[in-house]
Amino acid sequence: MTDRPPIRILPPEVAARIAAGEVIERPASVVKELVENALDAGATRIEVEIEGGGADRIRVRDDGHGIPPEQVADAFERHATSKLRSEHDLYAVRTLGFRGEALAAIAAAADVDLITRPAAQTAGATLHLRRGRTERQGSAAAAPGTSIEVRELFASLPARRRFLRATRSETQAVARVVADYALAYPEVAFRLTADGRSALASPGSGDPREAVAAIHGAEVAAALLPAHAERAAPVEGEADIARCEVAGLVGPPSLHRASRAAIHVVANGRTVTARALLPAVELGYEGLLPGGRHPVALIRITVPPDQVDVNVHPQKAEVRFRHERLVFATVQAAVRAALSSAAHLAPDSPDLTAFAPSTDGTAYAAAHAWPGLDLPPETPVAQPPFEATSGRSVIAGARAASRTERDRQPPADLGGRVPVLRPLGQVESTYIVAESSDGMVLVDQHAAHERVLYEEVRARIAAGERPSQPLLHSVLATLSAPQAALLAGGARDLEAVGWQVEPADGAAVIVRAVPAALAGRDVARALADYLDRLEAEERLSGPDRAAATLACRAAVMAGDRLDAAQQRALLDALARCDTPHTCPHGRPTMLHLSRAALERSFGRR
């Protein structure tokens, strides 16, 4: 062991390369650092060009305030920054960059050409660096702002260069970075050109929805619902108050993706991966999305600068909130509020009374609001309250209103109202084919009926009713051990949906009443089936679980023939649901094929 080399302090160049490796991992990190610098420089337009996934060439051009000529050379020194003056500033960072490492790290890893001109200067300054050393410095004519070109990334670090992935995936990583910033800064116009092709262009209008449109398409953008929540809480043992504001846009449950890539989280203007916050977003969608699917969301979190630590990750991709639970709760509240205001989600139970039968037109309209199938409008159409005095005129009013609404509105503007679905028939005795005001809709009859029954049962529970059908003569049923355990554990919830079951000897129970929706079936078998289904119902709990199970057992099954009147009744009832798009398990109830989609498919346009 005498060969062991002694400990030495690394030469500065080596240290710089190691640090550069932390900051600059792949072309996307270069783009991220340069875009952040541009944003810190107050740019309103940022253009990113890459070639060969960024490994060959990256150019970021902005119209920010530029670097004065006399400071150009210093800009590439390590820990050179204009953004921090003292340690204290580090705990209240308001700029994106602050470590003073970015340009130095980039310069250590590639050849860099800089052209910069503050608006006040007449000429621009140029600087050419090769492997971290200044080769040329001069002046040239230039537009106000800064343009940095990075070539041959990692040419001096062959090991790292070998680890770069295919051009396509590096390009995607760059696109993701630019997209994130375009969403975080809708007031800045971003443009990304990859190998000469325009990959992304955001208008920079300041409207986040337009930024989303540039990235996810106009249809997705139009469907998003505005989300907002603000929370403040005193902190024990501290003078200041923990605050958090969340604003953003979230997709309706009908819009879902196979990955979480469409959930964008921005904290104080900084795009972050925020793994800890993703569950908060998804919890807001609980019970609305099919299993394994993820929502589309843009979440913008604002907290006082001193309540977030951005200096926890070399690439600043992670942040640490001092009051993480508050942030978590605010995000969840914002998502839930957005979904429930659009009537995608029943509000928390106390508000359920708002949906109790009443002649109040606004409650009726709220209960019937529907976001449309895939192209709801940006702002919900105001619905005049019905001046109804009796139940019947409420119905008549609603019918008339929906009819005129439909006639008046173009299809893309369904107005958040219930599209009237006209049943055309059944496929496989399982799906109802219906015509909507915009194309056609396929409805899964079981899922749809489940949703209808689920909401009815919940509304009745909330109203203190227990629609129960007692038996003419009580029935003795024998249960399996797991069934008996479920019965014992959830007795109260089972009673809430209408069961009346008493223990008898051993595994036997006496059934005295069944839920009204199950009346007419064989009692003992209905109870056993119900309990088996209850066991499988893992997503929900408490009365909701009992209600969802009842809905599932009582709903028409796939394979049941439905006549025209039954199909119509089911679609009408579905349209009255608060959350018509998904069944209680989160499976979709319907598929929409819009007129536009039909026209596209048939080559009509």
Binding site: R460, R466, L472, A516
Partner: protein
């Protein structure tokens, strides 16, 4: 086989036996009807090979006896469109093709080997019990709807026939309601059997066509089959084995309130209320208030559907006893009101949670017991 018969007769016979044909089957030949020509008649038969068989005998000129099966749907549809003239049928034995001719129409229909057709049982046993067809028809209509549709307790999917000296009592129950019909008969027999509800539904239709006339009921000695002979038709059914629950104790002996209303009006108001109760539960609420002084008694029927609306209907009623509140499943009420053979009905109740009893006013042949629903008042 070579025969000639009248289109009307053949059409009627084919429609009658087609009712035995199952809607879903794994045995293709049960979609066929068996034709047997012998003597001076043609016998048509169909069966579901499980529960029931129907045969129908029509007059025919039989030039050459024989038998064949033909697809029921095809031959029924074809015969139905023919004019009311003579139809001739000729079977080519080897190819099992039947050539039909009627005036200017001819058709050829392929059949199957009659030996493969499920055997049609013939019951020859005890002396036949004779019942008037319209009476049996009413008795079936008033009970069969109360039978259970779920077959996990097979005895409840049938109607209990109880023959005693001079009377026949039919009863059906599905756990939520009970229907009992009693009628006088001439025969003095002691016997209790359970007849499948499906067989009785079909028998009810055959009886409807027979109008006046008699039904002969025969049981086989083993007590496993029953045969109903009505006119040209014969329906044979396998009996359900088991013990029917003792239902007598389910009919309440007492009542706190007796409310008498018009069947037609009650039916109409219940139907309206059911529109509003058309969510999963179908709750229809009833409040009976006795008359006071010059105010007549009344029955108030209400229903409401969450988020849709509500409804209230008021009927004149003769109310004896205390005010009564009770809620029923609207469908159950309509089922029984539909089959009452009287103008007025008496509703007997004791409490919101005890069974309600409906009886036609003016005859004591029928009694219906139905469990109320649990609701918050």
């Amino acid at each position: 086989m070579r025969i000639a018969c009248q289109q009307e007769d053949l059409h009627r016979g084919l429609s009658a036996v087609a009712r035995a044909i199952p809607t879903r089957t794994t045995l293709p030949i049960t979609q066929h009807v068996l034709l047997e020509a012998e003597g001076d008649h043609l016998t048509l038969s169909a069966t579901d090979a499980e529960t029931i068989a129907i045969t129908y005998r029509i007059e025919a000129k039989v030039e050459e006896p024989g038998s064949i099966t033909l697809p029921s749907r095809l031959i029924s549809d074809f015969v139905a469109t023919l004019p009311r003239e003579e139809i001739t049928m000729r079977l080519a034995e080897r190819s099992r093709q039947v050539s039909l001719a009627c005036v200017r129409n001819t058709a050829s229909i392929g059949g199957m080997d009659p030996d493969d057709f499920p055997p049609i049982p013939t019951v020859e046993g005890s002396d036949a019990i004779t019942i008037e067809a319209p009476r049996l028809r009413t008795a079936i209509a008033q009970t069969v709807f109360s039978a259970a549709t779920d077959d996990s307790r097979p005895v409840l999917t049938g109607v209990h026939f109880h023959f005693t000296a001079g009377s026949l009592r039919l009863a059906a129950a599905d756990g939520f309601r009970l229907s009992v019909h009693t009628m006088p008969i001439d025969a003095k027999v002691e016997r209790a059997v359970i007849v499948p509800a499906r067989a009785l539904s079909e028998l009810g239709r055959l009886l409807g066509e027979a109008a006046e006339g008699k039904v002969a009921v025969t049981f086989n000695p083993a007590g496993t089959q029953v045969q109903f002979d009505v006119g040209h038709a014969r329906l044979t059914a396998n009996l359900i084995q088991g013990t029917f629950p003792n239902y007598e104790q389910l009919i309440p002996a007492q009542k706190a309130t007796r409310t008498e209303v018009s069947v037609a009006e009650f039916m109409r108001e219940t139907r309206i209320a059911s529109i509003f109760a058309r969510d999963g539960s179908g709750i229809v609420r009833i409040i009976a208030t006795p008359g006071e002084g010059s105010n007549p008694g009344r029955l108030v029927i209400t229903a409401r559907a969450e988020e849709v609306g509500n409804n209230e209907g008021i009927l004149d009623a003769v109310v004896e006893g205390a005010e009564a509140k009770i809620a029923f499943n609207g469908r159950y009420l309509m089922d029984v009101l539909n089959v009452l053979d009287a103008d007025r009905v008496a509703i007997e109740t004791t409490s919101p949670s005890s069974p309600g009893v409906l009886r036609p006013v003016g005859n004591d042949r029928f009694v219906h017991v139905v469990m109320p629903m649990f609701v918050q008042w």
